[in-house]
Symmetry: C2
Subunit: 223 residues, 2 copies
C-alpha cells in the first residue's frame, strides 16, 4: 500500500480513526470530488478561495500533481507562489443527528494537500494541466474543443501542487453516542446527502443537440 501522511504537518492529530492511509482511496476521491478550496497566506492572514482543479498522476511530480488555474492578474497568484499553499477538497456526504448536541457531526470525505505550488511554464505540461482541469469537470470535453489561442494561454496561470504531502479523512454512518442516551431510547441516525444534476441547459445561442460528453456527465451526476 502506497501510504499517506509522510510528514508531521500532514499527519492527522485528532480523529485518527477517520484517517485514510491508502493513496488509492485518495486518488479515487480526488477523481470524484468537484471543488477545491485553495488557502494562501497574505501578509498577516490566510485567504481561502474556491476553485476548480484537475489531477494528473503521470505528471512530473513523482506523487502526482494537483493542477489549479486562474487569471494571471488574480491577486492570490503571487501569494500562492511566495509560500506553501494548502489545497483542501471536501465532499459532504451527510448530516449526523446524534442523541445529544455533542455527538452531532457530519459525514464527509476530505483531502488536505500542503506544498509549494509550482508555476507551470512548460507548454506541454500547461496543455496537459488545462486538459486535466476541463476533463475533471466534464470527462472527454477537452478533445471536443478548439485549441486555446495564444492570447487565452497568455492570460492563464497554471499551478501544480505536488500530492506528496497529503492526508485524507472520512466519516460515514450514524452517530457515536453515549450509552446512557442509547439506553434512554432516544433516536439517533443520519441524513444522507447526495449530489444531483439537472439536465444540461443550452444557452440562447446554442443550436443542435447537447454534446454527448455533457449529456453523459449530467447523467453520471444525476441521482
Amino acid at each position: 500500500m502506497d501510504s499517506l501522511s509522510p510528514t508531521p504537518r500532514t499527519t492527522i492529530g485528532r480523529g485518527r480513526n477517520r484517517a485514510v492511509e491508502d493513496r488509492a482511496i485518495l486518488h479515487a476521491f480526488l477523481e470524484d470530488a468537484l471543488l477545491a478550496h485553495l488557502g494562501v497566506v497574505a501578509r498577516d492572514h490566510p485567504v481561502v478561495l474556491p476553485t476548480a482543479f484537475g489531477v494528473d498522476l503521470e505528471g512530473p511530480d513523482a506523487s502526482g500533481s494537483l493542477y489549479l488555474h486562474g487569471s494571471v492578474a488574480a491577486g492570490w497568484l503571487a501569494k500562492a507562489l511566495e509560500r506553501d499553499v494548502c489545497v483542501t477538497i471536501t465532499e459532504l456526504d451527510g448530516l449526523v443527528a446524534g442523541r445529544s448536541a455533542f455527538h452531532h457531526s457530519m459525514n464527509y470525505r476530505s483531502a488536505v494537500v500542503i506544498g509549494r505550488a509550482r508555476l507551470v511554464d512548460d507548454a506541454g505540461e500547461r496543455e496537459q494541466a488545462l486538459a486535466a482541469v476541463v476533463d475533471h469537470m466534464i470527462p472527454g470535453r477537452w478533445a471536443t474543443l478548439r485549441p486555446s489561442t495564444r492570447k487565452e494561454l497568455a492570460a492563464t496561470a497554471v499551478l501544480a501542487v505536488p500530492l506528496a504531502e497529503a492526508s485524507m479523512k472520512q466519516r460515514s454512518g450514524g452517530p457515536v453516542d453515549e450509552p446512557e442516551d442509547i439506553a434512554a431510547g432516544v433516536w439517533g441516525g443520519h441524513i444522507p446527502l447526495l449530489r444531483n444534476a439537472g439536465l444540461p441547459v443550452g444557452d440562447e445561442d446554442s443550436q443542435g443537440p447537447v454534446p454527448s460528453d455533457v449529456a453523459a456527465r449530467a447523467a453520471d451526476l444525476a441521482c
Copy 2:
C-alpha cells in the same frame, strides 16, 4: 442597503461583476449553505479544514457572528486564535460548458470572511453558539436534545468570527463565450448541480419514528 466589503482585504479584485454587495443576500446564503472551510496560518503555511458552522445575527458582534466549534485538543485551535482567520463558505451550483476551454467555469455562491476569531467563554453565548451550529444543520433540533453536560462543554471550544469583513461572489447561468465560437454554431451551456438528501437512516439502536425535525430537514434538502 447594508453593504459588504468595507476593507481592502475583503474588496473583490478580479470578477467584480460577480460580487454581491447586499448583506441580506450574504445572510440568506449563510443560512442555506452547509459547510465552511476554515483557513488558519501555521508557522509557515496555511491549513484549510472543513467544518460545520452556525450564524447568529443577534450575537455580541455588531455585524453578526459566525460560530465554529471543535475539540479543545484540536491542533488548529491555538493557530486560529494567534492570527486572523479566513472562513470561506461555498455552494457549487453548476458546471459551465463553454465553447472553448478558456470559458469553462463553475456556477457557485461563495462568502469569504476574514477576521480575528474570539474564543467564546461566556456560558450563555456558548450555549447560543452551539444551538446555532446544531440548528444550522437540522433546524429545531437543539430544543429536542438533553442539556449538554459539564464534561461535554469542557471538551468543546467555541469560536466566534465577526461577519464585519465579508465579501460574497456568485455566478450563475451559461458561458460567456467568444463571438467567433458562437458564430461557428458550437453548443454552450451548463449542467445545474443540486443538493439532494435521502431519507433519514436510524442507527441500529434507534427505536420509534424519525423525529419530526430530522424528517423535515431531509425533506427540505431532497430534490
